[in-house]
Symmetry: C2
Subunit: 455 residues, 2 copies
């Protein structure tokens, strides 16, 4: 035989196709065959862009695709769309693949395998969750279905978003922008549960100011449907909320079914267990993206975080290691940002609950400032909260909510937390200052200064 190796990739989104592209860059086609199976209709698409497509800010869903199947093929990667890998035999080194169009199944051999299955939306277990008009929001298909719900003909349509996390709030904004009246239903005391409750309360206030209805500490119990099986209301423990359209934004969990069934080790946080090279428990088998669990550098615990940035980086690492290179994924610190209308939200590191669970004793400092010099008319407000470890002063986490210019300020705190910088060191940083961008003391510095003074 030719001695040509075969790398199979399960999943054609960010992680899988980054792995494929990086492997392709490093190994010529005559040495390595690369086949990627994608059960959906699109490769390498930005799922995080779906709310903006639904909102009507992007006209063509293809714009969310950063590289199409054709482009990958032109690049020497054998992409098979609408092909779902349903089982893996790690002893025989073969996968069983279903052609979703033809309905047929084939067996494909591999030398190395990459799990890049992504994540799947958590679907609540109650009556009529599959009714017409109830939408998940993960695939481009979900986005198209939501967009096709023609609001222009039904101004005043009522939308209910179940879940007040990132995707829930982004979808709420999208529906609001399209002129619907939107209610967000959240089971916790505050939306955005990756923030502390005091910061979540500011998010709640902001959401209500925008004109969205928000019901916290409210569990959905069922969906009511009309005679055609279309949703017409969301039933909570408190009341029945009329709804013409429902979006499920409860979150996602790693898709690990095929990997688990194949005997690949799943970690305690529910993702495929990986080492720093993104190797799984089985030699020659790699994993990347939303389906894996990775190391959190501050808590030192395994976590699952579904985010395109990590998926891209991990995919590159896999592509390198699968071609006899050496690359590592350094872990995460849980940085996330979002925008809800005029409000910007950011977080990084550990929140209070996470810090306590990780065994830290810490101080928490919260400050209010502006994102421009105080004398600029309508200088946008910003609230910054910082956690710092007792004794060492090490920065453990930061949370931000504010208006224009607020969210991306989380990056400088992320860099400092990444490098285990102490609050009083952070205060010394030489950050950019000019009146259109910052007060003389940047809000992040003020927050760190307050934390340092509490230590």
């Amino acid at each position: 035989m030719s001695g040509r190796e075969r790398l199979l990739i399960i999943g054609g989104d960010a992680a899988g196709m980054s792995a494929a592209a990086q492997a392709r860059r490093r190994a010529p086609a005559e040495k390595l065959e690369i086949v990627a199976f994608e059960k959906g209709d699109f490769t390498s698409y930005g799922a995080c862009g779906l709310p903006y497509y639904v909102a009507g800010r992007i006209d063509d869903p293809e714009e969310l695709v950063s590289r199409s199947a054709e482009q990958h093929r032109a690049n020497g990667i054998d992409v098979r769309m609408r092909h779902e890998v349903v089982a893996v035999d790690l002893d025989e080194c073969v996968v069983r693949v279903r052609d979703l169009e033809a309905g047929s199944e084939e067996v494909e051999p591999f030398d190395q395998l990459v799990f890049a299955n992504g994540a799947e939306p958590i679907r609540p277990q109650f009556p009529d969750v599959d009714a017409e008009g109830v939408h998940g929001i993960q695939t481009i298909g979900d986005g198209i279905a939501l967009r096709e719900h023609d609001v222009s003909e039904h101004l005043g349509d009522r939308a209910v978003v179940v879940g007040g996390g990132y995707i829930g709030l982004e979808m709420a904004e999208a529906m609001h922008e399209r002129g619907m009246s939107v209610t967000v239903v959240e089971a916790s005391r505050q939306p955005m549960s990756t923030l502390d409750e005091d910061m979540g309360a500011l998010v709640a206030e902001a959401i209500r100011k925008i004109g969205l209805e928000l019901q916290t500490e409210t569990r959905v119990q069922a969906f009511d449907t009309d005679d055609h099986g279309h949703v017409r209301a969301v039933v909570t423990e408190h009341e029945t909320i009329p709804a013409d359209i429902v979006v499920l934004g409860i979150g996602v969990r790693p898709s690990v079914g095929v990997a688990r069934d194949a005997g690949v080790e799943i970690g305690p946080s529910g993702g495929v267990k990986t080492d720093r090279r993104m190797a799984t428990s089985v030699p020659g088998v790699w994993a990347a993206g939303d389906c894996v669990e990775v190391f959190h550098r501050v808590s030192r615990r395994p976590v699952t975080i579904a985010l395109g940035t990590h998926a891209n980086k991990q995919g590159r690492v896999v592509g390198e290691n699968a071609t006899a290179g050496y690359a590592t994924f350094a872990g995460v610190i849980g940085t996330a940002i979002t925008k809800v209308c005029a409000y910007e939200i950011g977080r990084t590191g550990l929140n209070e609950k996470e810090a306590r669970e990780a065994g830290f004793e810490f101080v928490a400092a919260t400050i209010e400032s502006t994102t421009r010099a105080h004398y600029f008319q309508g200088s946008p407000e910003i609230t910054v909260k910082v956690l710092a470890e007792k004794r060492s002063g090490r920065l453990l986490g930061a949370q931000i909510i504010g208006r224009e210019g607020a969210a991306k300020r989380i990056d400088v705190m992320a860099a400092a937390i990444w490098d285990e910088m102490a609050a009083d060191e952070f205060v010394e940083l030489d950050l950019g200052y000019a009146p259109p961008f910052s007060p003389v003391w940047d809000p992040t510095l003020i927050a760190a200064r307050k934390a340092a003074s509490m230590l």
Copy 2:
């Protein structure tokens, strides 16, 4: 006697009044008398806000004052306005102060002294530099004079700005916003000489796109005046440019005359020499703000940088040390940002020339990207340049030019450079990603990745 000590402060702007306020916080009035002499009309004002006052975005110059003389007095600081310290006798521990209103002089004793004299604009040495209509831009008085030049009655007035650095470009924007036709005259090959020429060329392009006239490699030789002694043209080596108003934005140098005459050591870069506690060469004598030279953490050389952020921090350090505390100023890395109409510019660390002078061998990587996801309509462009040391990969400097969302991205690079992070470590950072704020790979990560790949 009472044993009450006396702290005299020369200069009532950011550095001096930060020192005063911090000292006041730490020492009660019965233990420490604090007297601050300010030769001008305002304390603690944001000189960096002057362009925005001139542009008409701020209505009352008092808004630039973050704390007035009255507020400082209410806080227990004896502020004497329009008082200029003209000489210091370090043997006798007295200063000679001129009351600019009364025209009289007094002698004031001190136990400790703070030089916070600030900087003075560089005034070119050619005919008619003091003509009517030629304005400096450093004090609120300068701003008022410029603002009083009533453009509304002279639409089409021609303004010439001498100097294409930060303050020059900010003033050019201000005059442009007020409807004047503006020409910027710059002696170097590109504006913004703290950037490398390739990045400066992008600034030049942006300035011209905005509709400002820019003449580079052009030296001003004289000003022409009319019969009333008012400027009417700027004479360069190439041509005579008609001008109804001229702004000098050539830069500033530390005001060290009084300190030098008193025998305080001046450093090689031209500022008052200070140690990490902001102590001068004379015990009990401190210095802070634009008049000092400080340590550059990357080049390891002394530099003078006139910037409110440093002045504030240094003032606090002095206030602490002058009251038997211990505080240090950690140095600078030359971070600066600005905005010229829709364009944002940032820099930190060393540029190519500075890196060579400091003895570094390095690679330079420049990339183009956007500040939002690619699929956002009109996603603002950004160019990022990164320098990284050969062998170590250590980040040495970064330069940014772009539109909305560009400039403050310099902060995360500043934090990394501060901490001596290598380019390939930087690429691993967990930075905030969401489509309204960033592509999946933040432009700063792309630039660092390119630099890392060149090493």
